[in-house]
Protein backbone atom coordinates (compact mmCIF):
# COMPACT_ATOMS: atom_id res chain seq x y z
CA UNK A 1 0.00 0.00 0.00
CA UNK A 2 2.69 2.50 0.94
CA UNK A 3 5.10 2.29 -1.95
CA UNK A 4 7.50 5.21 -1.89
CA UNK A 5 6.74 6.86 -5.26
CA UNK A 6 3.02 6.74 -4.55
CA UNK A 7 3.32 8.41 -1.16
CA UNK A 8 6.38 10.55 -1.88
CA UNK A 9 4.60 13.83 -1.18
CA UNK A 10 2.99 12.55 2.01
CA UNK A 11 6.39 11.27 3.23
CA UNK A 12 8.02 14.56 2.27
CA UNK A 13 5.43 16.49 4.25
CA UNK A 14 5.96 14.38 7.35
CA UNK A 15 9.71 14.68 6.98
CA UNK A 16 9.42 18.48 6.81
CA UNK A 17 7.05 18.49 9.77
CA UNK A 18 9.75 16.76 11.80
CA UNK A 19 11.79 19.97 11.73
CA UNK A 20 8.93 22.09 13.07
CA UNK A 21 8.39 22.66 16.80
CA UNK A 22 5.32 20.84 18.06
CA UNK A 23 3.60 24.06 19.20
CA UNK A 24 3.05 25.21 15.62
CA UNK A 25 2.58 21.70 14.25
CA UNK A 26 -1.06 22.14 13.27
CA UNK A 27 -0.48 25.38 11.39
CA UNK A 28 2.65 24.09 9.68
CA UNK A 29 0.82 20.96 8.59
CA UNK A 30 -2.01 23.03 7.10
CA UNK A 31 0.42 25.34 5.30
CA UNK A 32 2.39 22.41 3.93
CA UNK A 33 -0.81 20.88 2.58
CA UNK A 34 -2.25 24.07 1.12
CA UNK A 35 0.89 25.51 -0.49
CA UNK A 36 1.39 22.73 -3.07
CA UNK A 37 -2.24 23.10 -4.18
CA UNK A 38 -1.80 26.84 -4.56
CA UNK A 39 1.34 26.32 -6.63
CA UNK A 40 0.43 23.30 -8.72
CA UNK A 41 -2.98 24.40 -9.97
CA UNK A 42 -1.99 27.92 -11.09
CA UNK A 43 0.97 26.26 -12.84
CA UNK A 44 -1.46 23.92 -14.50
CA UNK A 45 -3.44 27.02 -15.49
CA UNK A 46 -0.34 28.46 -17.17
CA UNK A 47 0.26 25.21 -19.03
CA UNK A 48 -3.40 24.99 -20.02
CA UNK A 49 -3.51 28.49 -21.52
CA UNK A 50 -0.62 27.54 -23.77
CA UNK A 51 -2.10 24.13 -24.54
CA UNK A 52 -5.45 25.71 -25.34
CA UNK A 53 -4.01 28.33 -27.68
CA UNK A 54 -1.87 25.73 -29.39
CA UNK A 55 -4.73 23.25 -29.64
CA UNK A 56 -7.23 25.81 -30.92
CA UNK A 57 -4.62 26.94 -33.39
CA UNK A 58 -4.24 23.41 -34.69
CA UNK A 59 -8.01 23.00 -34.97
CA UNK A 60 -8.29 26.30 -36.84
CA UNK A 61 -5.39 25.38 -39.12
CA UNK A 62 -2.85 27.88 -37.80
CA UNK A 63 0.25 27.63 -35.65
CA UNK A 64 -0.73 29.29 -32.39
CA UNK A 65 1.78 31.15 -30.22
CA UNK A 66 5.34 30.40 -31.39
CA UNK A 67 7.34 33.58 -30.81
CA UNK A 68 8.32 33.50 -27.13
CA UNK A 69 10.88 30.81 -26.43
CA UNK A 70 11.12 27.43 -28.09
CA UNK A 71 7.73 26.55 -29.63
CA UNK A 72 6.15 29.45 -27.76
CA UNK A 73 6.74 27.75 -24.41
CA UNK A 74 7.30 31.02 -22.52
CA UNK A 75 3.99 32.45 -23.69
CA UNK A 76 2.21 32.05 -20.30
CA UNK A 77 5.10 33.87 -18.60
CA UNK A 78 4.90 36.68 -21.14
CA UNK A 79 1.14 36.89 -20.65
CA UNK A 80 1.62 37.05 -16.88
CA UNK A 81 4.16 39.86 -17.07
CA UNK A 82 1.97 41.70 -19.54
CA UNK A 83 -1.08 41.58 -17.29
CA UNK A 84 0.98 42.60 -14.25
CA UNK A 85 2.44 45.65 -15.94
CA UNK A 86 -0.78 46.84 -17.54
CA UNK A 87 -2.59 49.81 -16.09
CA UNK A 88 -5.39 48.94 -13.72
CA UNK A 89 -8.37 50.92 -15.01
CA UNK A 90 -11.48 51.26 -12.89
CA UNK A 91 -14.47 52.95 -14.55
CA UNK A 92 -15.34 56.35 -13.10
CA UNK A 93 -18.89 55.41 -12.17
CA UNK A 94 -17.97 51.95 -10.89
CA UNK A 95 -18.65 50.85 -7.38
CA UNK A 96 -15.00 50.71 -6.35
CA UNK A 97 -15.14 48.36 -3.37
CA UNK A 98 -17.40 45.79 -5.02
CA UNK A 99 -15.44 46.13 -8.25
CA UNK A 100 -12.26 45.26 -6.36
CA UNK A 101 -13.78 42.44 -4.30
CA UNK A 102 -15.41 40.53 -7.17
CA UNK A 103 -12.25 38.95 -8.69
CA UNK A 104 -10.88 38.27 -5.20
CA UNK A 105 -14.04 36.42 -4.16
CA UNK A 106 -14.04 34.46 -7.41
CA UNK A 107 -10.47 33.24 -6.97
CA UNK A 108 -10.94 32.47 -3.27
CA UNK A 109 -14.05 30.41 -4.01
CA UNK A 110 -12.25 28.62 -6.84
CA UNK A 111 -9.34 27.73 -4.56
CA UNK A 112 -11.60 26.60 -1.71
CA UNK A 113 -13.08 23.92 -3.96
CA UNK A 114 -9.72 22.12 -4.01
CA UNK A 115 -9.97 21.44 -0.28
CA UNK A 116 -12.00 18.29 -0.80
CA UNK A 117 -10.32 17.05 -3.97
CA UNK A 118 -8.34 13.83 -3.45
CA UNK A 119 -5.42 14.34 -5.83
CA UNK A 120 -3.81 11.08 -4.78
CA UNK A 121 -3.98 8.33 -2.20
CA UNK A 122 -4.02 10.02 1.26
CA UNK A 123 -3.68 13.33 -0.53
CA UNK A 124 -6.99 15.09 0.08
CA UNK A 125 -6.61 18.29 2.07
CA UNK A 126 -9.58 17.54 4.30
CA UNK A 127 -11.81 14.49 4.38
CA UNK A 128 -15.12 16.19 5.04
CA UNK A 129 -18.12 14.10 5.95
CA UNK A 130 -20.09 16.10 3.38
CA UNK A 131 -17.30 16.72 0.88
CA UNK A 132 -19.38 16.73 -2.31
CA UNK A 133 -21.83 19.12 -0.68
CA UNK A 134 -18.93 21.39 0.27
CA UNK A 135 -17.85 21.49 -3.34
CA UNK A 136 -21.27 22.56 -4.57
CA UNK A 137 -21.70 25.08 -1.74
CA UNK A 138 -18.42 26.75 -2.65
CA UNK A 139 -19.38 26.64 -6.31
CA UNK A 140 -22.56 28.57 -5.62
CA UNK A 141 -20.51 31.46 -4.20
CA UNK A 142 -19.02 31.96 -7.66
CA UNK A 143 -22.40 33.19 -8.90
CA UNK A 144 -22.32 36.00 -6.38
CA UNK A 145 -18.83 37.00 -7.51
CA UNK A 146 -19.98 37.09 -11.12
CA UNK A 147 -22.92 39.27 -10.18
CA UNK A 148 -20.67 41.62 -8.22
CA UNK A 149 -18.38 41.99 -11.21
CA UNK A 150 -21.21 42.65 -13.63
CA UNK A 151 -23.13 45.05 -11.44
CA UNK A 152 -20.26 47.09 -10.03
CA UNK A 153 -18.84 47.94 -13.46
CA UNK A 154 -21.91 50.04 -14.29
CA UNK A 155 -21.75 48.98 -17.90
CA UNK A 156 -24.58 47.57 -19.98
CA UNK A 157 -22.38 44.89 -21.43
CA UNK A 158 -21.13 43.70 -18.06
CA UNK A 159 -24.64 43.71 -16.68
CA UNK A 160 -25.97 41.70 -19.62
CA UNK A 161 -23.07 39.30 -19.31
CA UNK A 162 -23.65 38.85 -15.60
CA UNK A 163 -27.37 38.27 -16.12
CA UNK A 164 -26.66 35.66 -18.75
CA UNK A 165 -23.97 34.03 -16.63
CA UNK A 166 -26.11 33.81 -13.51
CA UNK A 167 -29.16 32.52 -15.38
CA UNK A 168 -26.98 29.88 -16.99
CA UNK A 169 -25.17 28.91 -13.81
CA UNK A 170 -28.39 28.55 -11.82
CA UNK A 171 -30.00 26.49 -14.58
CA UNK A 172 -27.06 24.15 -14.95
CA UNK A 173 -26.31 23.83 -11.26
CA UNK A 174 -29.45 21.72 -10.84
CA UNK A 175 -28.48 19.02 -13.38
CA UNK A 176 -24.88 19.18 -12.14
CA UNK A 177 -25.96 18.26 -8.63
CA UNK A 178 -28.58 15.75 -9.77
CA UNK A 179 -26.11 14.00 -12.08
CA UNK A 180 -23.74 13.47 -9.17
CA UNK A 181 -26.50 12.20 -6.85
CA UNK A 182 -26.37 8.77 -8.55
CA UNK A 183 -22.78 8.32 -7.37
CA UNK A 184 -23.68 9.33 -3.84
CA UNK A 185 -26.55 6.82 -3.90
CA UNK A 186 -24.24 4.03 -4.99
CA UNK A 187 -21.29 4.91 -2.75
CA UNK A 188 -23.50 5.67 0.25
CA UNK A 189 -21.22 8.53 1.22
CA UNK A 190 -20.75 12.21 0.54
CA UNK A 191 -17.05 12.08 1.35
CA UNK A 192 -14.90 12.40 -1.76
CA UNK A 193 -12.21 10.19 -0.20
CA UNK A 194 -14.71 7.37 0.45
CA UNK A 195 -16.16 7.65 -3.06
CA UNK A 196 -12.74 7.17 -4.63
CA UNK A 197 -11.90 4.28 -2.34
CA UNK A 198 -15.12 2.48 -3.32
CA UNK A 199 -14.02 2.71 -6.97
CA UNK A 200 -10.40 1.75 -6.42
CA UNK A 201 -11.05 -2.01 -6.24
CA UNK A 202 -10.64 -4.42 -9.11
CA UNK A 203 -12.42 -7.43 -10.61
CA UNK A 204 -9.72 -9.26 -12.53
CA UNK A 205 -7.79 -6.36 -13.98
CA UNK A 206 -10.76 -4.02 -14.44
CA UNK A 207 -11.59 -1.32 -11.90
CA UNK A 208 -15.00 -0.54 -10.44
CA UNK A 209 -15.27 2.97 -11.82
CA UNK A 210 -18.80 4.26 -11.88
CA UNK A 211 -18.42 5.40 -15.47
CA UNK A 212 -18.50 1.73 -16.52
CA UNK A 213 -22.08 1.31 -15.35
CA UNK A 214 -24.99 2.49 -17.54
CA UNK A 215 -26.18 5.10 -15.04
CA UNK A 216 -22.61 6.16 -14.34
CA UNK A 217 -21.93 6.68 -18.02
CA UNK A 218 -25.05 8.75 -18.53
CA UNK A 219 -24.32 10.61 -15.28
CA UNK A 220 -20.79 11.36 -16.44
CA UNK A 221 -21.98 12.72 -19.78
CA UNK A 222 -24.66 14.87 -18.13
CA UNK A 223 -22.18 16.03 -15.51
CA UNK A 224 -19.62 17.04 -18.10
CA UNK A 225 -22.22 18.96 -20.15
CA UNK A 226 -23.40 20.79 -17.04
CA UNK A 227 -19.79 21.38 -15.98
CA UNK A 228 -19.00 22.95 -19.34
CA UNK A 229 -21.96 25.28 -18.92
CA UNK A 230 -21.08 25.98 -15.30
CA UNK A 231 -17.55 27.06 -16.20
CA UNK A 232 -18.92 29.28 -19.02
CA UNK A 233 -16.96 27.52 -21.71
CA UNK A 234 -17.80 27.09 -25.35
CA UNK A 235 -20.38 26.00 -26.61
CA UNK A 236 -22.00 27.55 -23.53
CA UNK A 237 -19.96 30.76 -23.52
CA UNK A 238 -22.86 33.15 -24.02
CA UNK A 239 -21.96 35.15 -20.90
CA UNK A 240 -18.72 36.10 -22.62
CA UNK A 241 -19.96 36.03 -26.21
CA UNK A 242 -17.15 38.07 -27.77
CA UNK A 243 -19.17 38.83 -30.88
CA UNK A 244 -22.27 40.00 -28.98
CA UNK A 245 -21.40 41.53 -25.64
CA UNK A 246 -17.61 41.72 -26.04
CA UNK A 247 -16.47 39.91 -22.92
CA UNK A 248 -19.46 39.84 -20.63
CA UNK A 249 -19.16 40.55 -16.96
CA UNK A 250 -15.43 41.25 -16.93
CA UNK A 251 -15.28 43.72 -19.79
CA UNK A 252 -14.47 46.62 -17.45
CA UNK A 253 -11.56 44.80 -15.84
CA UNK A 254 -8.03 45.32 -16.98
CA UNK A 255 -4.55 44.27 -16.01
CA UNK A 256 -4.16 41.88 -13.16
CA UNK A 257 -7.82 41.85 -12.15
CA UNK A 258 -8.66 40.52 -15.59
CA UNK A 259 -5.96 37.89 -15.14
CA UNK A 260 -7.56 36.95 -11.82
CA UNK A 261 -10.89 36.38 -13.58
CA UNK A 262 -9.14 34.28 -16.14
CA UNK A 263 -7.41 32.31 -13.38
CA UNK A 264 -10.64 31.88 -11.42
CA UNK A 265 -12.46 30.58 -14.45
CA UNK A 266 -9.81 28.02 -15.28
CA UNK A 267 -9.42 26.98 -11.64
CA UNK A 268 -13.17 26.42 -11.56
CA UNK A 269 -12.91 24.28 -14.66
CA UNK A 270 -10.09 22.19 -13.16
CA UNK A 271 -11.99 21.76 -9.91
CA UNK A 272 -15.17 20.62 -11.66
CA UNK A 273 -13.13 18.25 -13.82
CA UNK A 274 -11.43 17.00 -10.67
CA UNK A 275 -14.79 16.31 -9.06
CA UNK A 276 -15.96 14.56 -12.23
CA UNK A 277 -12.85 12.38 -12.03
CA UNK A 278 -13.48 11.72 -8.36
CA UNK A 279 -17.12 10.83 -8.84
CA UNK A 280 -17.06 8.88 -12.07
CA UNK A 281 -13.52 8.14 -13.24
CA UNK A 282 -12.19 6.55 -10.09
CA UNK A 283 -10.19 9.50 -8.79
CA UNK A 284 -6.56 8.53 -8.35
CA UNK A 285 -7.04 4.82 -9.04
CA UNK A 286 -5.32 3.20 -12.01
CA UNK A 287 -7.44 2.13 -15.00
CA UNK A 288 -6.05 -1.43 -14.90
CA UNK A 289 -4.87 -3.29 -11.82
CA UNK A 290 -1.56 -4.10 -13.53
CA UNK A 291 -0.85 -0.37 -13.81
CA UNK A 292 -1.01 0.38 -10.08
CA UNK A 293 2.78 0.73 -9.97
CA UNK A 294 2.36 4.22 -11.45
CA UNK A 295 1.77 6.67 -8.55
CA UNK A 296 -1.81 7.62 -7.76
CA UNK A 297 -1.25 11.37 -8.12
CA UNK A 298 0.14 10.81 -11.62
CA UNK A 299 -3.09 9.06 -12.58
CA UNK A 300 -5.16 11.92 -11.21
CA UNK A 301 -3.27 14.53 -13.19
CA UNK A 302 -3.25 12.37 -16.33
CA UNK A 303 -7.02 12.11 -16.14
CA UNK A 304 -7.29 15.83 -15.46
CA UNK A 305 -5.16 16.66 -18.48
CA UNK A 306 -7.27 14.32 -20.62
CA UNK A 307 -10.45 16.10 -19.56
CA UNK A 308 -8.82 19.49 -20.20
CA UNK A 309 -7.87 18.37 -23.70
CA UNK A 310 -11.45 17.29 -24.20
CA UNK A 311 -12.66 20.73 -23.13
CA UNK A 312 -10.29 22.36 -25.63
CA UNK A 313 -11.41 20.02 -28.37
CA UNK A 314 -15.07 20.79 -27.69
CA UNK A 315 -14.32 24.51 -27.65
CA UNK A 316 -12.65 24.31 -31.02
CA UNK A 317 -15.41 22.22 -32.56
CA UNK A 318 -18.88 23.30 -31.48
CA UNK A 319 -20.62 26.60 -32.28
CA UNK A 320 -22.17 28.71 -29.54
CA UNK A 321 -25.74 27.99 -28.48
CA UNK A 322 -28.49 30.58 -28.48
CA UNK A 323 -29.94 31.64 -25.12
CA UNK A 324 -33.28 29.85 -25.55
CA UNK A 325 -31.56 26.73 -26.86
CA UNK A 326 -29.31 26.77 -23.82
CA UNK A 327 -32.20 27.03 -21.38
CA UNK A 328 -34.38 24.51 -23.16
CA UNK A 329 -31.52 22.05 -23.32
CA UNK A 330 -31.03 22.27 -19.56
CA UNK A 331 -34.65 22.12 -18.47
CA UNK A 332 -36.19 19.89 -21.12
CA UNK A 333 -33.49 17.33 -21.76
CA UNK A 334 -30.70 17.22 -19.17
CA UNK A 335 -32.89 17.65 -16.10
CA UNK A 336 -35.43 14.89 -16.96
CA UNK A 337 -32.60 12.55 -17.93
CA UNK A 338 -30.77 13.24 -14.66
CA UNK A 339 -33.95 12.52 -12.69
CA UNK A 340 -34.56 9.36 -14.65
CA UNK A 341 -30.97 8.33 -14.10
CA UNK A 342 -31.55 8.43 -10.36
CA UNK A 343 -34.38 5.90 -10.70
CA UNK A 344 -32.10 3.63 -12.74
CA UNK A 345 -29.36 3.94 -10.14
CA UNK A 346 -31.85 2.83 -7.50
CA UNK A 347 -32.90 -0.13 -9.65
CA UNK A 348 -29.23 -1.05 -10.16
CA UNK A 349 -28.70 -1.20 -6.44
CA UNK A 350 -31.49 -3.73 -5.91
CA UNK A 351 -30.77 -6.03 -8.87
CA UNK A 352 -28.40 -8.98 -8.72
CA UNK A 353 -24.94 -8.23 -10.08
CA UNK A 354 -24.19 -9.60 -13.51
CA UNK A 355 -24.52 -8.96 -17.21
CA UNK A 356 -28.35 -9.03 -17.07
CA UNK A 357 -28.41 -6.06 -14.72
CA UNK A 358 -26.07 -4.13 -16.97
CA UNK A 359 -28.14 -4.68 -20.11
CA UNK A 360 -31.51 -4.08 -18.44
CA UNK A 361 -30.30 -0.75 -17.02
CA UNK A 362 -28.66 0.29 -20.28
CA UNK A 363 -31.87 -0.51 -22.16
CA UNK A 364 -33.95 1.42 -19.62
CA UNK A 365 -31.70 4.43 -20.12
CA UNK A 366 -31.52 4.34 -23.90
CA UNK A 367 -35.28 4.01 -24.50
CA UNK A 368 -36.39 7.14 -22.60
CA UNK A 369 -33.45 9.04 -24.02
CA UNK A 370 -34.56 8.37 -27.59
CA UNK A 371 -38.23 8.90 -26.76
CA UNK A 372 -37.45 12.23 -25.08
CA UNK A 373 -35.27 13.48 -27.90
CA UNK A 374 -37.85 12.41 -30.49
CA UNK A 375 -40.58 14.23 -28.58
CA UNK A 376 -38.48 17.37 -28.27
CA UNK A 377 -37.56 17.23 -31.93
CA UNK A 378 -41.19 16.92 -32.98
CA UNK A 379 -42.11 19.95 -30.90
CA UNK A 380 -39.68 22.12 -32.80
CA UNK A 381 -40.35 22.90 -36.40
CA UNK A 382 -36.98 22.48 -37.99
CA UNK A 383 -36.66 24.56 -41.11
CA UNK A 384 -34.23 26.82 -42.89
CA UNK A 385 -33.67 29.94 -40.89
CA UNK A 386 -34.81 33.17 -42.49
CA UNK A 387 -32.83 36.27 -41.65
CA UNK A 388 -34.51 39.64 -41.31
CA UNK A 389 -31.53 41.87 -41.89
CA UNK A 390 -28.80 39.69 -43.35
CA UNK A 391 -28.62 38.33 -46.90
Amino acid sequence: MTQTPDQVFVILKHWLLGYVPTSVHAIASAVLSILPLMVVFPLLFAITTLLERKGLGRIQNRLGPNRTGPMGLWQPLADGIKSLTKEDIVPFTADHIVHFLAPVLLVVAAFLAYAVLPVGRNMALVNLNAGVLFFFAVGSVVELAVFMAGWSSRSKYSMLGAMRAIAQMISYEVPLVLASVVVIMQAGSLSTVDIVERQATYTGIFPHWYVFTPWGFLGFILFMIAATAESNRSPFDLPEGESEIIAGYYIEYSGFKFALFFLGEYLGMFATSGIAITLFLGGWSAPLSVLTFIPSWAWFFLKLLTLICMFIWVRGTLPRLRMDQLMNFAWEFILPMALFNMVIAGLWRFMNPGAVRWFVCAFLILVPMFVLSALLKRKKKLQLRTYSFAE
Binding site: D95, A130, L144, E173
Partner: protein
Protein backbone atom coordinates in the same frame (compact mmCIF):
# COMPACT_ATOMS: atom_id res chain seq x y z
CA UNK B 1 -16.03 31.30 24.05
CA UNK B 2 -13.36 30.52 21.55
CA UNK B 3 -11.59 33.03 19.32
CA UNK B 4 -13.23 31.61 16.20
CA UNK B 5 -16.66 32.10 17.75
CA UNK B 6 -15.79 35.71 18.58
CA UNK B 7 -14.61 36.40 15.04
CA UNK B 8 -17.75 34.84 13.55
CA UNK B 9 -20.01 36.69 15.97
CA UNK B 10 -18.40 40.06 15.21
CA UNK B 11 -18.67 39.29 11.49
CA UNK B 12 -22.36 38.39 11.73
CA UNK B 13 -23.33 41.37 13.88
CA UNK B 14 -21.25 43.79 11.83
CA UNK B 15 -22.53 42.63 8.46
CA UNK B 16 -26.13 42.60 9.68
CA UNK B 17 -25.75 46.15 10.95
CA UNK B 18 -24.28 47.12 7.59
CA UNK B 19 -27.14 45.40 5.77
CA UNK B 20 -29.57 47.54 7.74
CA UNK B 21 -27.62 50.77 7.57
CA UNK B 22 -26.30 50.93 4.01
CA UNK B 23 -28.21 53.04 1.53
CA UNK B 24 -27.67 51.07 -1.66
CA UNK B 25 -29.95 48.00 -1.71
CA UNK B 26 -27.39 45.92 -3.63
CA UNK B 27 -24.81 46.62 -0.93
CA UNK B 28 -27.40 45.57 1.62
CA UNK B 29 -27.87 42.22 -0.09
CA UNK B 30 -24.13 41.69 -0.43
CA UNK B 31 -23.52 42.38 3.25
CA UNK B 32 -26.49 40.19 4.09
CA UNK B 33 -24.85 37.34 2.21
CA UNK B 34 -21.80 37.83 4.46
CA UNK B 35 -24.22 37.30 7.36
CA UNK B 36 -25.46 34.09 5.74
CA UNK B 37 -21.88 32.92 5.35
CA UNK B 38 -21.18 33.76 8.98
CA UNK B 39 -24.17 31.77 10.17
CA UNK B 40 -22.97 28.86 8.03
CA UNK B 41 -19.55 29.18 9.67
CA UNK B 42 -21.26 29.06 13.06
CA UNK B 43 -22.99 25.81 12.11
CA UNK B 44 -19.71 24.38 10.81
CA UNK B 45 -17.97 25.36 14.03
CA UNK B 46 -20.61 23.44 15.98
CA UNK B 47 -19.93 20.35 13.87
CA UNK B 48 -23.17 20.53 11.87
CA UNK B 49 -21.53 20.15 8.47
CA UNK B 50 -24.66 19.34 6.51
CA UNK B 51 -26.69 22.24 7.87
CA UNK B 52 -23.81 24.68 7.44
CA UNK B 53 -23.08 23.75 3.86
CA UNK B 54 -26.75 23.70 2.96
CA UNK B 55 -27.01 27.17 4.48
CA UNK B 56 -24.35 28.43 2.07
CA UNK B 57 -25.86 26.63 -0.90
CA UNK B 58 -29.42 27.81 -0.28
CA UNK B 59 -28.92 31.26 1.17
CA UNK B 60 -25.81 32.52 -0.63
CA UNK B 61 -26.33 30.53 -3.81
CA UNK B 62 -30.06 31.04 -4.21
CA UNK B 63 -31.70 33.51 -1.81
CA UNK B 64 -29.08 36.26 -2.17
CA UNK B 65 -28.99 35.84 -5.95
CA UNK B 66 -32.77 35.99 -6.10
CA UNK B 67 -32.86 39.15 -3.98
CA UNK B 68 -30.18 40.74 -6.15
CA UNK B 69 -32.09 39.87 -9.31
CA UNK B 70 -35.32 41.26 -7.90
CA UNK B 71 -33.67 44.56 -6.96
CA UNK B 72 -31.84 44.79 -10.26
CA UNK B 73 -34.92 44.23 -12.37
CA UNK B 74 -37.13 46.63 -10.46
CA UNK B 75 -34.90 49.58 -9.71
CA UNK B 76 -34.46 52.55 -12.02
CA UNK B 77 -31.33 53.20 -14.05
CA UNK B 78 -29.74 55.66 -11.65
CA UNK B 79 -30.16 53.21 -8.83
CA UNK B 80 -32.49 53.48 -5.94
CA UNK B 81 -31.20 54.78 -2.64
CA UNK B 82 -32.81 53.80 0.58
CA UNK B 83 -33.05 56.03 3.63
CA UNK B 84 -31.39 54.64 6.72
CA UNK B 85 -34.52 55.11 8.80
CA UNK B 86 -37.91 54.16 7.49
CA UNK B 87 -40.96 56.29 8.18
CA UNK B 88 -42.43 53.78 10.58
CA UNK B 89 -39.23 53.29 12.53
CA UNK B 90 -41.15 53.27 15.80
CA UNK B 91 -43.28 50.26 14.76
CA UNK B 92 -40.17 48.46 13.63
CA UNK B 93 -38.44 49.20 16.90
CA UNK B 94 -41.42 47.90 18.87
CA UNK B 95 -41.51 44.71 16.78
CA UNK B 96 -37.79 44.19 17.24
CA UNK B 97 -38.05 44.68 21.01
CA UNK B 98 -41.01 42.28 21.17
CA UNK B 99 -39.23 39.57 19.16
CA UNK B 100 -36.04 40.00 21.16
CA UNK B 101 -37.84 39.81 24.50
CA UNK B 102 -39.72 36.64 23.47
CA UNK B 103 -36.47 35.02 22.31
CA UNK B 104 -34.65 36.17 25.42
CA UNK B 105 -37.42 34.89 27.65
CA UNK B 106 -37.39 31.53 25.84
CA UNK B 107 -33.65 31.20 26.22
CA UNK B 108 -33.53 32.31 29.85
CA UNK B 109 -36.45 30.15 30.95
CA UNK B 110 -34.56 27.04 29.83
CA UNK B 111 -32.78 25.44 32.74
CA UNK B 112 -29.10 26.07 32.09
CA UNK B 113 -27.46 22.71 32.58
CA UNK B 114 -23.99 24.15 32.40
CA UNK B 115 -21.63 23.24 29.65
CA UNK B 116 -22.49 19.67 28.75
CA UNK B 117 -20.16 17.33 26.95
CA UNK B 118 -19.90 18.00 23.25
CA UNK B 119 -22.52 16.13 21.26
CA UNK B 120 -20.92 13.84 18.73
CA UNK B 121 -21.39 15.40 15.30
CA UNK B 122 -24.31 14.00 13.36
CA UNK B 123 -23.27 12.46 10.06
CA UNK B 124 -25.11 13.12 6.82
CA UNK B 125 -26.02 9.45 6.74
CA UNK B 126 -27.87 9.76 10.06
CA UNK B 127 -29.76 12.81 8.84
CA UNK B 128 -30.68 10.98 5.64
CA UNK B 129 -31.90 7.83 7.34
CA UNK B 130 -33.94 9.74 9.92
CA UNK B 131 -35.51 11.79 7.12
CA UNK B 132 -36.38 8.59 5.30
CA UNK B 133 -37.70 6.66 8.33
CA UNK B 134 -38.79 8.81 11.22
CA UNK B 135 -39.72 12.03 9.46
CA UNK B 136 -40.83 10.72 6.10
CA UNK B 137 -44.32 12.23 6.37
CA UNK B 138 -43.18 15.80 7.12
CA UNK B 139 -40.61 15.45 4.34
CA UNK B 140 -43.27 14.41 1.85
CA UNK B 141 -45.58 17.19 3.00
CA UNK B 142 -42.85 19.80 2.55
CA UNK B 143 -42.12 18.35 -0.87
CA UNK B 144 -45.81 18.66 -1.79
CA UNK B 145 -45.94 22.23 -0.49
CA UNK B 146 -42.84 23.23 -2.44
CA UNK B 147 -44.17 21.62 -5.61
CA UNK B 148 -47.44 23.53 -5.20
CA UNK B 149 -45.48 26.77 -4.68
CA UNK B 150 -43.39 26.03 -7.76
CA UNK B 151 -46.44 25.40 -9.93
CA UNK B 152 -48.05 28.54 -8.54
CA UNK B 153 -45.00 30.61 -9.39
CA UNK B 154 -44.95 29.26 -12.93
CA UNK B 155 -48.67 29.97 -13.37
CA UNK B 156 -48.18 33.56 -12.20
CA UNK B 157 -45.12 34.08 -14.38
CA UNK B 158 -46.59 32.42 -17.47
CA UNK B 159 -47.57 34.56 -20.41
CA UNK B 160 -51.32 34.72 -20.77
CA UNK B 161 -52.06 34.21 -24.44
CA UNK B 162 -55.70 35.34 -24.32
CA UNK B 163 -54.79 38.69 -22.76
CA UNK B 164 -52.47 39.69 -25.56
CA UNK B 165 -54.87 38.87 -28.32
Amino acid sequence: MSISFLIIAVLIVGSTAAAMGLRNPIHCVLTLSITFGGIAALFLQLGAEFVGLTQIMVYVGAVAILAVFAIMMTQSRRGLMLGTFSRNALVGLLTAVAVFSVLGWAVLSQPVAGVTAAVSPVSVQQIGSSLMHEYVLPLELIGLLLTAALIGAIVIAMERKEDTE
